[in-house]
């Protein structure tokens, strides 16, 4: 039996492995990078292995979530297939996860890459919502998602966020809604804030990704948290310090006193306000800019306070940043409303969160809080986060690739050569 290579080719990360396995064997950045210390461009996992990632120049094959540079992608895939997975493409099938609404010209160049450059035997193209649904339905055979055979998949990834209703393993294309915000924009926004307020990190994508992943969270009450964030001293639950790498002792940046930085998570809500009879926002000493600057410059570190929650806040209110787009809750409501009314109650009850940007603490609670007032009172709102929002799509793909009728769903190399890209593509989507 031949291998099926399962490849969730995301704009930020490539998740690649063999169909039937529980987890992908490679999760690597989908880009080339050149650290300031190097003359060579490093590919995918070589970047992860690189000790000094300060001031890395990046080249990504993706732009706004779509594959625009197949030549660059070829270098990355080559590295993944040959060095990391060690498979022979000419003896393998490929299950490729592509973004929704891919353009025909991009599909064509992708097919060329798959069949002509790598010579795969056959190809199946899947979209992420249907794979997430498949995975969740098969892992909870008694759950609602499985019984009703439908769900609403919210995929908040690197380049954008989709709210996609899925019915009987097919994404209901005409109902999908997209918000043009994802992890990349959040990282860039955080870079901008830190660079302006503390220290220039505009070139430090990997570093700020780390800051974002370790320190950002979703606020459940923005005005309250803004107040907390400008308290002096210990009462400020959010102030924390991130230390930049010094290139000698520390090759990676780190959070100074991580427990302290995360204590907001363990405290009950009431404790957020000290009991000295202080009420919401009055009698407070606002933070002075000098407080902020009181950091050890020789150590190259910076403080964060309200940035920690104002960054993920973008996903819920893009309008705050001047984007003329509805936030995530409305995005979901619009996707649901584009479906048959019979489906509405079930969809609200089977919302699945996936994608790396849903990993911020309190993401699901906030979403529910925003969604509840927009949903009819007699409907339940039930939001589940995938066990691993970064690998969930791949795991669904792995499941599909190991199903008995998988080969029959594929387009073979000879079919591609005979019919061409456009006609072969019609097979994948209803």
């Amino acid at each position: 039996m031949s291998n099926v290579v399962v490849l969730d080719n995301g704009g930020g990360l490539c998740k690649a492995g063999i169909g039937g396995d529980r987890d992908p064997s490679a999760v690597v950045p989908n880009c080339l990078g050149r650290p300031s210390s190097s003359k060579k461009w490093l590919v995918a996992d070589q970047l992860q292995a690189c000790e000094d990632l300060t001031s890395v120049s990046l080249r990504r094959p993706f732009d706004r979530g779509y594959l625009i540079n197949p030549d660059l992608e070829k270098e990355i895939w080559d590295r993944i297939f040959r060095s990391l997975l060690r498979v022979d493409p000419t003896a393998s099938s490929l299950l490729l996860v592509e973004p929704l609404f891919n353009l025909p010209s991009i599909q064509r160049s992708t097919d060329e890459l798959v069949f002509e450059d790598f010579g795969f035997r056959s190809l199946y193209v899947a979209d992420s919502p249907s794979l997430v649904h498949l995975y969740e339905a098969s892992h909870r055979p008694d759950g609602l998602i499985s019984r009703a055979q439908c769900s609403l998949v919210v995929d908040c990834g690197f380049s954008f966020t989709h709210a996609a209703p899925v019915l009987q393993n097919f994404t209901i294309n005409y109902a999908v809604k997209r918000l043009d915000l994802g992890g990349k924009a959040l990282t860039n926004y955080l870079k901008e804030l830190v660079s302006y307020r503390s220290i220039n990190v505009m070139d430090e994508t990997f570093l700020i990704d780390d800051v974002k992943e370790k320190l950002c969270f979703v606020s459940l009450n923005v005005p309250r948290d803004l107040q907390i964030a400008r308290r002096p001293g210990k009462d400020n639950l959010f102030r924390c310090t991130y230390v930049l790498p010094d290139g000698v002792e520390h090759m990676k940046g780190y959070v100074k006193d991580l427990d302290e930085a995360q204590r907001y998570l363990t405290l009950p809500d009431e404790a957020w306000f000290p009991s000295q009879g202080m009420k919401d926002g009055c009698a407070e000493v606002p933070e002075k800019p000098e407080d902020r600057k009181r950091i050890d410059l020789t150590k190259n570190e910076f403080n964060l306070t309200n940035e920690r929650f104002l960054v993920p806040e973008m996903i819920f209110r893009p309008a705050d940043l001047g984007m003329n787009q509805a936030g995530l809750a409305e995005c979901i409501v619009r996707a649901v409303n584009s479906c048959h009314p019979h489906l509405h109650p079930v969809l609200y009850e089977s919302i699945i969160l996936t994608g790396g940007s849903t990993l911020f603490p309190r993401f699901a609670q906030r979403l529910e809080k925003e969604l509840r007032p927009l949903v009819p009172d007699d409907y339940h709102v039930q939001i589940t986060t995938q066990e691993d929002p970064i690998l969930g799509v791949w795991r669904g793909g792995s499941l599909l690739a190991s199903s008995p009728d998988f080969e029959a769903m594929c387009v073979t190399k000879s079919e591609y050569e005979e019919l061409g890209s456009a006609r072969c593509r019609r097979r994948f989507f209803h």
């Binding site: 880009c31 300060t54 001031s55 120049s57 990046l58 990504r60 732009d63 979530g65 779509y66 625009i68 540079n69 030549d71 609404f101 353009l103 025909p104 010209s105 991009i106 989709h162 709210a163 005409y174 999908v176 809604k177 997209r178 990349k184 924009a185 860039n188 926004y189 870079k191 901008e192 804030l193 302006y196 307020r197 220039n200 990190v201 505009m202 070139d203 430090e204 923005v222 005005p223 803004l226 964030a229 400008r230 010094d246 290139g247 606002p286 933070e287 800019p289 410059l297 020789t298 309200n306 309008a319 705050d320 940043l321 001047g322 003329n324 787009q325 509805a326 409305e330 995005c331 619009r334």
Partner: protein, 171 residues
């Protein structure tokens, strides 16, 4: 010590940056506020926000060696090309942006019932009210800069804004 540390974040010399399409539109606009707002959003999609030497068609000293090696592999006997000829050649190979590909796909011409990238866009929010946060300190902001449209919360923050950031995205 401080010198060494700041060296980590030192820039190479500044060179012409490849200007994105929206940026061009923004610069053509006479309205400073629109310019600033558009440019700010555009910056969120940058891969190398602060590094000015990234695109293949840049005149990037550091990548010259590689480019030259590549050229040599491509055509053994040609003499070293002029910078201009090189730039031209690179421009031809340079991939098009997604927005260019999108335009080419001409999705507007599809019948109205066909789902597409354009139709999937979530659209504007139903409530247009916008919360304003001070760009200097992040706190709730009640004032707007008359020149660039950015928000600030206090005199102190206004002064910092005027000194450092006002019209940063415009000029």
């Amino acid at each position: 010590m401080e010198d060494e540390a700041s060296g980590l974040f030192r820039r190479t010399s500044t060179r012409t940056r490849k200007v994105a399409a929206k940026m061009v539109a923004a610069l053509a606009s006479s309205d400073n506020r629109t310019q600033a707002a558009l440019a700010r959003l555009e910056a969120l999609e940058n891969d190398n926000a602060g590094i000015e030497t990234i695109e293949i068609n840049d005149d990037d000293e550091a990548s010259l060696d590689e480019d030259e090696a590549y050229m040599k592999r491509q055509s053994k006997n040609t003499k070293r090309k002029t910078r201009q000829a090189k730039a031209l050649e690179n421009a031809k190979k340079a991939p098009r942006t997604f927005l260019e590909l999108l335009q080419e796909a001409n999705l507007e011409s599809l019948p109205s019932h066909v789902p597409s990238y354009l139709k999937a866009a979530v659209g504007p929010p139903s409530c247009t009210s916008r919360r304003n946060f001070c760009t200097v300190c992040g706190y709730t902001a009640n004032y707007t800069c008359v020149r660039c449209g950015v928000r600030f919360c206090s005199c102190r923050c206004q002064n910092i804004h005027n000194d450092t950031r006002c019209l940063k995205f415009v000029t």
